[in-house]
Each structure stands twice: as C-alpha cells, then as structure tokens.
Symmetry: C2
Subunit: 368 residues, 2 copies
C-alpha cells in the first residue's frame, strides 16, 4: 500500500474513527485502525464490536492495499507532524513507513485478516434530520441515563420516530428526560434503544451545523448514522423500553414560573451543604410570589427566597438539588414552567409545546 | 465581628491567601483562613507554617473581631454568591452568618487562639523589582527543581542579588537552569534558597504587570514578598547551595544555531517512541548545516534532519529529549545557540547576554 494525504484530513479522519477504539481491551486488533486503499480511495475503519465507524478521506492512492495500525500511536504521530502532505507506505512484513517533509518514522503494522469488519445491515427505514437537531437533542437527554446491571435499557437512549416527530427519552430511576423535534417529511413510525455511548460519540463527531443533514437508518439490531463522508454503525440494546406514560400526568395542583438562571444559581448554592455521607435534600416551600429554598446539614445551612409566579396550591416538596440542576442546565429558555401535584409526586418541568419534558422524583424530608 | 465587603474583592483575597492552605493536613486550624476586622480594616491570613500569606481587602467594618473559617467551604460559598455586597457576622459561639441579596448561610467558624500567626521577621536587605520580571524568571527556571530526600536544596530556587542583578538558579541532577535580570538600583549582595512551592504560588498570585512593582525582603531564615495589599512570608531552605561553576564552561568545540520551534517540534516527535520501560535517548548527529535526530525503540523509529548553522567540530551526542524540550519551551527567542564540547560533556543553551543559561547532561547511547 502506498498513499499520500494531507496531515489535516488524515488527522480529522483518525479522530473520527478513534471513537470506536475501546479504551481498554485485551484484544490487540480492536486497538487498531484499518486503513484500506482501493481504486476508489482511502477508508479508515475502527470497530469495538458494539460501535463501528468508517470514514473516507481525500487521497491519492499510489498502490492499493490494507494495513491495521495501533490507533493511539498512529494518531499521535500524525498529530505531531507539520501541516503538509503525509506519505504512508507498507512493506511485505506489515512494516509501515510514514514520511512528512524531512521527518520519517518506521512502525510495525499488522495484517488485517482478524480485523472485525462492520456488519452488513439491511435497514428497513430511514429519516433525514439536521446535525444541529440531533446534537442538541442528545445533549439535552444524555445526562439522565444510568449504567444498571439490572436493566440494560437504562444505559440507552430510547429513539422514536412517531407521528413525524423525532423523540428521545432517557431515564435513570430518579428522573425522565424527553426531547421531541418535528421532522420535515413524513416517515413510518419506528423505535430503537441506542447505547448512550454511541450517542455521546456521535454528538462529539458531528459538526452540528443547521445546514448539515444526516441520515438515521434503522434495522432490527442496528442503527446507522450517515453524515459527510462518515458512517457509524451501532448495535441496539435489546428488549422493551420502559412504559413511562403513568409518570407523565397532564393535571397538576401547582404551576410555578421562575427565572431559570436565578433558580439554577440558588440550587447550586444549596449543593455547598450536601454532605456525601448524609445527603440532605433541598426543601422548596412554594407560596404566592415566593419560593423558599432551604438546606441544612452537618456542614451548615442555607436559606434563600426567589421571586416566582404561581397558580394553584401552596406546596412544600424536597429534591436532590443536582437532579433539578442537570435539567435546568440544558434548558435554553429564560423562564421555566414547573408543574407539581403533591409532596410525594414527581415534578415536571416542560415548555408549552412539550418539545422538552423533565420529570424529577422528590425525596422524603423532615423539617428541623 | 460584623463586616460588609464586595463579593469580588473578598473572593480575590480568599483565592490569594488560599495558596497557603495545605491540601492535606491533620491539623484542622491549618485548613482555616483567619479573618481579622480591626479599626484599620479587614485582613485575611492563611499559614501552612512554611508559607504564610496575608492580604487586606476594601471593607466596611461595623464591629471589630476575629474568626477562623474553613478555607475551602468559605471560598466555595463566596464564589457561588451573586456579584453584590456580602454581609458577614459572627456570634458568641463562633457561628458565622453570611448574607448576600436574598440568600443567607450559616456555618460554624472556630476560635482563633490556636491560629499560627505569621512570623515577625527583621529583614536585613530589600530589593524592588517588577512583578513581570519575577513572574517570567520563576516560570523560566521552576521546571528543573527536584524533590530529593537526599538534598533539600534541590527542591528550592537559589535566589541571588549579585552585582545589581537578580539571579535565579535551579537544578535537579540532570540539568541546571539560570536566569539573570538587571536591577535598576544598587543593592547589597544577598542570597537565599526559596522553596519551589513558594515561587509557584507567588507566580500564580501576582498580576505580572510591567508596571506592578514588588519588594523582596531577605532575612536569615525567611524571604518576604510585598505586592499590592498582599504580604507573603516564606521559610527558606537551610544549608548551602551547590557549587555549579565547574559545570559552566566558557570554551566549546561546537556552536550550533537552530530555529527553536523546528527543534522543539522535532524533539516532540521523537518522544513518541520513548518507551517508559526502556528509555532510549534521541541521538543528535551534528554536521555542517545539518542536525540529524534519531530515536529507535521497541515502539518504532524516527529520523529527521534540521537545517542549522554550525561552527567548530562535528559531534554525535544523545539526550533525554524531554529535558531539552523543557528548556526550549520557556525560551522566547526564535533562534537559539547551543554550545557543545564532547559526547560526554553537558550541552549549554544560552543567549549572548547570558540572561538565560540552560545546561543539560547528555546520556550514554549505542548505535544500532
């Protein structure tokens, strides 16, 4: 194999596919990136067996061939090269020579026989959506997944194409996060549980531009993302997702409007007194025009009032402040609407259009 | 005690004195900051017994008094407050109340009887120099100190006032770093070994402006830094500093001029192949107009040529590339001058005025 490509496009390609190189593995071939040079061009591939990524890079192939190279060493070499053309050549013993300007490097590659190819997937349905929407939706739900030995689905994002909307749902036993976005065309309904790591990786790789379109292809066991010159293939988490309808009420006793930044900063101050050994909740006392926040622990005590608009009943209810903060951090509205029922019922933060819905369970509390 | 001060000036003061709060200690009082309000104003003090820092903050004292408060908790509370006036009040049981806008906090302070006051120091001599110069000099020598159980002086910076220059020297057994800066006035000669940590802390606290003047006061066992409204008192490391004159030759066999950025990037690429278990050196082969860098290890091999200007003998010599890189990173010149004698003699990087001198020991090498 003999190829020439620019340092920057090679590095961009390596950074993209490296997301599918496992941090820890005992299988050496999984640590490698496959470089394939054929008459159509150069493809970089990595595959950790759950997630596989391949990307094409602009190239001049002088001699076709394939080689597997340790991803971390190869990426580090390319990163430290001057910004110029890089010449890569392999010999019969899988030796790899890398040249750039006056620098030359020799490293050992390996044969590609045991490299695990990306699965061939027959997709049954496909949607088109902007990278901006996908990136934003991921970032607004990904924080409430949980690694659970008891239920694999908790480590996933439930993706639904439903009535021409794209919907993402996550939950971790203490809260539910839901984002909905309208699709521009008509699509068949379909759903899948996508591993959280796949979505974290995707959100880091895509540009996220409003004009950048991407395709999501669904099959029985896989989801495929196609964008630019890159293709990501991820296994799905098997099984049924949770039935969450009973948690999502539409009738409430109390409706509060509050400035998001003020509420977030106030909750942040309450965390100063959260003792890791004895987690005290923040107690919210909601009366007309005022919400009082109070937290007392062995470390100290805080007490603060926020101006609010309120409809309905007064209420006293307690939360783990960090769970509320996680939701508030990803909401972009200046004012938020909070809906409450009783001290032992979940609270719901959502906008009128219900493009986002965050449900947080309260915790027990005792007054001093 | 009852005081009012702006959140920002209080936070700035806390960040300054917190440098003298030890990260780990079993003595609770050392984790505290002393707040003292007297008719002249408010002083914050911290003292880890090697380094003590006190700073004055703009204030309105309503009631004099003193209190010791856990530095980390207090700083975190103040950091999370809105930018407004902060009201602090203590009660007879050392309870501390902190109020800002509608937020109020209650934490436990402690009595100040066991707080270790800064030592009273009679300084014998004093110099004035810009914060810019001190900050720059520290950053250009601090990297070559070493924690050594055998020789405490290696963990220090040797500071000399010598013929109306300020000189800082560090060494770690593999290299020596020296920076010299002219002083504007005439001063008596004096020298001291200052703990490296004191200088790291100082360089982070001072603004480093060209117009910001600071004073260095020397006594037998202490050095004092006075700048703005802050005073740092540090113990000195006892004993004699090393005699390094024999390492500083003025006659050389080879003189090389090379572009600093190119040399640094080339050395950086050689570190890709440094195996932590079997540290191979980078081998420099210096001939007319060319320096070849070569490193071969179990990971792979690199080979690169740099354009140089050379006077004197050809030479082949080997180094730990990271030691050369540390020096090159802090030199601001575009071109550097390297002076060599023989393959087993230290190399010297210095400018004509000798405001900086970096001496690096070579290592043994075998050609493949």
């Amino acid at each position: 194999m003999k190829i020439v490509c620019s340092k920057n496009s090679l590095l961009k390609g390596l950074n993209t596919v490296s997301r599918a190189v496992p941090v820890r593995t005992t299988l050496d071939i999984l640590k490698c990136i496959l470089i394939k040079a054929d008459p159509e061009g150069i493809t970089l591939t990595a595959n950790d067996t759950t997630l596989g990524i391949e990307t094409r890079i602009p190239e001049r192939v002088q001699e076709t061939g394939t080689i597997a190279i340790d991803a971390s060493l190869f990426t580090n070499i390319i990163r430290k090269l001057p910004e110029d053309d890089v010449y890569i050549e392999t010999d019969a013993d899988n030796g790899v020579s890398i040249k750039c300007q006056k620098a030359s490097f020799a490293i050992a590659g390996r044969g590609t026989d045991d490299f695990i190819a990306l699965p061939a997937v027959d997709s049954s349905s496909q949607i088109t959506v902007s990278e901006f929407t996908v990136k934003e939706m991921i970032n607004q739900v990904i924080f409430s997944i949980a690694e659970s030995d008891l239920n694999a689905a908790m480590a996933g994002v439930y993706v639904e194409v439903l009535n021409n909307t794209l919907k993402m749902t996550t939950l971790d036993g203490h809260r539910i996060s839901i984002r909905v976005s309208e699709l521009k065309e008509n699509y068949e309904d379909v759903s899948a549980i996508v591993p959280g790591k796949t979505f974290s990786d995707l959100s880091r790789i895509i540009n996220g531009g409003l004009e950048d379109e991407m395709h999501l292809l669904f099959s029985k066991n896989h989801i495929i993302f196609e964008f630019g010159s890159t293709r990501m293939v991820s296994r799905l988490i098997e099984g049924q997702y949770f039935r969450i309808e009973s948690m999502l009420r539409s009738e409430y006793e109390t409706h509060v409007k509050v400035n998001k930044k003020d509420f977030l900063e106030c909750l942040d101050r309450s965390t100063l007194f959260v003792n890791e050994n004895d987690k005290k909740p923040v107690i919210l006392t909601i009366t007309d025009e005022e919400m009082n926040l109070k937290l007392r622990s062995g470390i100290g005590a805080m007490n603060e009032n926020l101006f609010i608009e309120k409809e309905g009943q007064d209420i006293k209810i307690a939360f783990n402040p960090r769970l509320l903060m996680d939701a508030l951090r990803v909401i972009e509205d200046e004012e938020i609407d909070i809906y409450l029922v009783k001290y032992n019922y979940p609270c719901t933060i959502k906008n009128e259009e219900e493009t986002y819905t965050y449900v947080v369970l309260p915790v027990n509390f005792t007054e001093d």
